[in-house]
């Protein structure tokens, strides 16, 4: 099991993992608040300033799975994998405009989740449930994929095992994560995010300077990659004509989906105010640059002559080949810790949503704040065990397919949330009908004869299913809003504006 272990790499890896474990538990005393209240446990008391939010959102959105998956797609097919760059460019103008409004209304009304806002805006329990359900459903496979990212680097350390034993290190790591998230809530990932992000920056900068220098410069890296794609359809250093429309719609759709996920909203709502969010919209693109550089590692793997059957092994193998063991261990630790932060925030976001928008309205309307917090804590454990079970008992393909569908589903709550930030014109019932149509159509379009597919042909162009479905969703919602009752929520326009300057 450990005969082939790379000891120097493993030692460095274990050291950093132990470090963040201690931090995770200590975090409960940081910016101390009453952790028996949901907004303290689940939103860190809304006290995270611009800097902490930068680390937390950066750690939350640019996940371990991204670090493994994006260069894997680039390694496998080239330019198309770079859709992640326009995708992350589109996010920030959107955040700049919309998220301060969401923060303001949430702060004023005590909302903790996106679905809280939906109920406040439209007064429609069905829509609230639909939004909550979509968020939880899409988050579960996302957490599971963080585990895939973690498992990739643990394997790269040389760990081998049979059957259940192969998942042992992952299980230990996850149990530790579950315990400190239970204890410290959102403060744990916020504190760990500092370490994680600094480690990621170090390993990326080292990689983009040292690896090309060893391989003869960027020109040589791209030339080697071009050779690897030669003669293969829809692979290459630039997009083929058929790839352009899917590339554009996938970028737009992914950007629309990202901030609908519960974990993104959790990150946003934990900020200390709209100013912190606007500053972050300007500063967060620094992470996109890191992501782009990580994407280039897919090409570097070709230049370094890495041949792997699973493209997701390309980057770990590149590191083992190009760096001394201790630094490979450091990089792997960065990736593994990079899985912990989003996994923690995701489980908290899903737990908040379940407690606030499913359990409270439908099962136990008269919940005390203390009961609310303890239920959310318990849910965060259940969500993580569920994700672990998916990885241990199901083929990885299952989580990947669900993740693909998760994005398509997540976009379907975009109209309700984003239009709701600007107008009360839409009817809750109409938006619910639109959601049903979008959810169904998106799922139907993704159903392929042999596998789930992200795009389909519309009027001769390939388009991302999420986008096609959300257009149908919006049309249905708009048309039905003409005839159905309008929103009956309790929000007024002033609730979206920044609070007047005060102490």
């Amino acid at each position: 099991m450990i005969d082939h272990l790379n000891w120097p790499a493993t030692a460095v890896f274990v050291f950093f993992f132990a470090l963040v474990t201690v931090m995770g538990f200590v975090a409960s005393r940081w910016k101390s608040g009453n952790l028996e209240e949901l907004h303290e446990w689940g939103l860190g008391g809304r006290r995270f300033g611009a800097w902490i939010t930068w680390f937390l959102l950066g750690g939350d959105l640019y996940t371990a799975y991204t670090v493994i998956a994006v260069p894997a797609v680039v390694y496998a097919i080239g330019a198309y994998g770079f859709f992640a760059v326009p995708y992350t460019i589109l996010i920030y103008p959107f955040i700049f405009l919309t998220m301060p409004r969401l923060w303001n209304v949430a702060h004023k009304k005590g909302y903790i989740t996106g679905s809280d806002f939906i109920y406040g805006r439209y007064g429609n329990k069905g829509l609230e449930l639909a939004v909550a359900f979509t968020g939880i459903l899409a988050t579960m496979p996302y957490i599971a994929l963080q585990l895939v990212g973690m498992e990739k680097v643990i394997q790269a350390l040389g760990f081998q095992g049979e059957g259940m034993m192969s998942h042992l290190p992952l299980t230990i790591a996850f149990v530790i994560l579950a315990l400190y998230t239970y204890k410290s809530g959102l403060r744990a990932p916020a504190m760990i995010a500092f370490v994680k992000d600094i480690m990621i920056y170090v390993f990326v900068i080292a990689a983009v300077v040292i690896v090309p220098a060893k391989l003869g410069g960027y020109g040589a890296v791209f030339d080697a990659a071009a050779k690897a794609y030669e003669g293969k359809p829809n692979q290459g250093l630039i997009l083929s004509p058929a790839q352009i429309a899917p590339f554009i719609t996938l970028a737009i759709g992914s950007a629309m989906a990202l901030f609908m996920y519960p974990h993104s909203m959790t990150g946003v709502l934990s900020a200390s105010g709209p100013k912190a969010l606007r500053r972050n919209a300007i500063a967060l693109p620094a992470y996109s640059l890191v992501l782009a550089l990580i994407a280039l590692m897919g090409f570097m793997a070709h230049a370094a002559g890495i041949e792997v059957t699973n493209p997701q092994d390309a980057v770990p193998q590149l590191f083992l080949k190009m760096f001394p063991s201790w630094f490979a261990g450091f990089s792997f630790a960065a990736i593994a810790i990079g899985a912990l932060v989003p996994a923690a925030v995701m489980s908290i976001g899903a737990a908040n949503t379940f407690t606030r928008n499913i359990w409270r309205p439908f099962v136990e309307p008269e919940m005390s704040p203390g009961r609310e917090a303890s239920l959310a804590k318990l849910m965060s454990l259940i969500v993580k065990v569920g994700a672990l079970a998916v990885i241990v008992f199901m083929p990885t393909k299952f989580a990947l397919d669900l993740q693909l569908l998760g994005g398509v589903w997540m976009i379907q709550i975009f109209p309700a949330i984003v239009f709701g930030l600007y107008t009360s014109w839409f009817s809750g019932e109409a938006l619910l009908a639109g959601w049903v149509v979008g959810f169904g159509l998106g799922t139907y379009l993704s159903w392929g004869p042999t596998a789930w597919v992200p795009t389909s042909l519309v009027l001769g162009y390939g388009a991302y299913n999420g986008i096609v479905a959300v257009v149908a969703n919006t049309v249905v919602a708009a048309v039905l809003s003409l005839v159905l009752r309008r929103a009956r929520g309790k929000i007024i326009t002033g609730d979206f504006a920044d609070a007047p300057r005060s102490a």
Binding site: P86, Y92, P93, F96, P100, G219, I238, L239, I248
Partner: protein, 58 residues
């Protein structure tokens, strides 16, 4: 004005024919990649400008 400033980087990074090529290279990096990477800090600057144009919220 604020919306226009925010829209410019979005359109530039989605206008694929503008940058879907190899030449000119920059430090060996093909146009497709250096253009998109350059757009990241450029978008930051545009968002910063947008934040300066008007008051904090509107």
């Amino acid at each position: 004005m604020k919306y226009l400033l925010l829209l410019i980087p979005c359109i530039a990074c989605l206008w694929v024919p503008l940058y879907n090529g190899i030449e000119p290279r920059l430090a060996g990096i093909p146009l497709f990649y250096w253009f998109l990477m350059l757009m990241i800090p450029v978008s930051s600057v545009f968002i910063w400008l947008a934040s300066k144009v008007e008051g904090s919220d509107s």
